[in-house]
């Protein structure tokens, strides 16, 4: 009745991906400090281990051992649920991303390096991005603090507004590939060239919206410390605060992975035909995984680079950019793409 091998295979994959997400998120915090230091002509963390390489462990340990404070007037259950939801929704989107080329065993069976290759692939990601708002809203409301509530409402309205242009810029990509399935999108790009060459405007819109969805600078209004003290996680301490901060880095990692998959060919190795190398399937899987990680690391670096270069938007600027510039642009991009596809098909 239950295919135990299948279950085992997927469990190992899920554990691997979650472990990987945590590891990358950990070292993104380190990279953030190092990049910030580099851009500001400082040294950055350099005490724990060589080049400060154990700094994230020290940070994590510190958060674990801090005193945990739950405000008396807060709603206890929802106060704990908030960070948990933020973490779960951040992690769950990783399930549909193809992480490497499928691994072919000696028996000829293919093991996809993807937890679930569902028909609705990218829409599933969207649904959990839109559910991700609740982590912020519930946390902000349950802390029973006016600043937290303000920040939560800001964050939620920002995320809801930027989901629209994000989805619209994606439609142009989906019209080209003709599928929502992530594995089909990747194999289409391996065959016809990367989507970035056909959809540069779509990518730009998608990237800006990804910045806004992750609450990164220049869109970090929910955490604007000079207006809202610390933002929606102001009342949080210890590891619950850690969860919120960590979820942001995992979101960055996952959105980088999605951008790489949709516009930069996923695990496809550029300029070469891998089949001609005559490598064993194991090494092909490993190399394609490495290429995918390199693409993700590049996007992560761009995220950090932007954070330490561009100042924060004002709230009205944020809304104007989203509703009056990005949505019309995305619509125009969509119409042009549709017209070109129709022209070439006839």
């Amino acid at each position: 009745m239950i295919d135990w091998w299948f279950l085992l295979e997927k469990t190992i994959l899920i554990a691997g991906i979650i472990g990987l997400s945590f590891f990358i998120a950990m070292y993104t915090t380190y990279a953030e400090r190092k990049v910030a230091a580099w851009l500001q002509d400082r040294r950055g963390p350099n005490r724990a281990g060589p080049f400060g390489i154990f700094q994230p462990l020290a940070d994590g340990g510190k958060l674990f051992f801090k005193e945990e404070i739950i405000p008396l007037a807060s709603n206890r259950f929802l106060f704990v649920l908030g960070p948990a939801l933020a973490m779960i929704t951040a992690l769950i989107t990783s399930s549909v991303i193809p992480w490497a080329a499928p691994f072919t065993t000696k028996g000829g069976t293919q093991i996809p390096m993807q937890v679930a290759d569902v028909n609705m692939g990218i829409l599933l990601v969207f649904s959990f991005v839109s559910v991700g708002v609740y982590g912020i809203m519930i946390g902000g409301w349950a802390s029973n603090n006016k600043f937290s509530l303000m920040a939560a409402v800001r964050g939620a309205s920002q995320m809801v507004s930027y989901e629209l242009p994000m989805g619209m810029s994606l439609i142009a990509v989906l019209m080209m590939t003709g599928s929502l399935q992530m594995s089909t999108i990747v194999s289409y790009q391996a065959e016809h060239g990367w989507n970035i060459w056909y959809q540069p405007l779509g990518f730009l819109i998608f990237f800006i919206c990804a910045l806004a969805e992750c609450n990164r600078t220049p869109f970090d209004l929910p955490e604007a410390e000079n207006e809202l003290n610390f933002g929606y996680h102001q009342e949080y301490s210890s590891m619950k605060l850690g969860f919120y901060l960590f979820a942001e880095y995992i979101n960055m990692f996952i959105s980088s992975a999605i951008m790489a998959t949709l516009f930069f060919g996923g695990y496809d190795i550029p300029f070469v035909k891998e089949e001609l190398w005559g490598l064993s399937p194991f090494w092909l899987t490993v190399i394609s995984f490495g290429v995918f990680m390199a693409k993700i690391s590049f996007f992560l670096f761009v995220f950090l680079w932007i954070r330490w270069t561009i100042p924060r938007f004002r709230y009205d600027q944020l809304m104007n950019l989203g509703w009056k510039k990005l949505i019309p642009l995305a619509l125009i991009n969509m119409v042009i793409t549709a017209a070109v596809i129709l022209y070439f098909k006839k």
Binding site: I2, L78, L123, F126, S130, V133, L149, S157
Partner: protein
């Protein structure tokens, strides 16, 4: 028991329980959160029927967008027990009677249909619920109703903007 039956049992229990909790909860924010759980349970039912598109859209539109707006309003007006309007006892009784009547009508209607024996729900087969077949149906057979409903949405949006602009 098959695994699908077990899943159906769990989802059905979750859907009914959370729907009851929506009504029973004293705190309106809790009600909204239980309603979100209900939507997730219903999406689970759609997936069991292999209607993946419907399941995902249900989450995106209802759980992801409409419920966020509900939460917005409720959190900002910050209802609590002191400010909640006190309901009239007669009003409560009238509500109970009206709800009971509706239940009676529904039960009577479904009893007459007698679906349970003749047609069993087809679980997890067919691709009618996948986006490809759904899109083909919508843009060929039901093109005119589809376009008309989109005009309806547009007019609703324009109406909202007009109301919002009026100071």
């Amino acid at each position: 028991m098959e695994i699908i039956e077990i899943l159906f049992g769990i989802l059905a229990f979750l859907a009914i329980f959370s729907a009851l909790m929506v009504v029973v909860s004293k705190n309106p924010v809790h009600s909204v959160l239980w309603l979100i759980v209900t939507f997730f349970a219903i999406s689970g039912h759609y997936i069991l029927l292999n209607a993946q598109f419907l399941a995902i859209v249900n989450i995106i539109v209802y759980a992801g967008a409409i419920m966020v707006l509900f939460l917005f309003v409720i959190m900002l007006i910050n209802l609590n027990r002191e400010t909640a309007p006190q309901k009239n006892r007669w009003l409560k009784m009238a509500g109970g009677v009206a709800g009971g009547c509706l239940l009676l009508v529904l039960v009577a209607a479904f009893k007459e249909v007698g679906m349970a024996e003749k047609q069993k729900a087809v679980v997890n087969v067919g691709d009618i619920g996948l986006i490809k077949s759904l899109g083909k149906e919508l843009f060929t057979k039901y093109l005119v109703p589809f376009e008309i409903s989109s005009v309806l949405f547009l007019s609703a949006m324009v109406g909202a903007v007009v109301i919002g602009k009026k100071e």
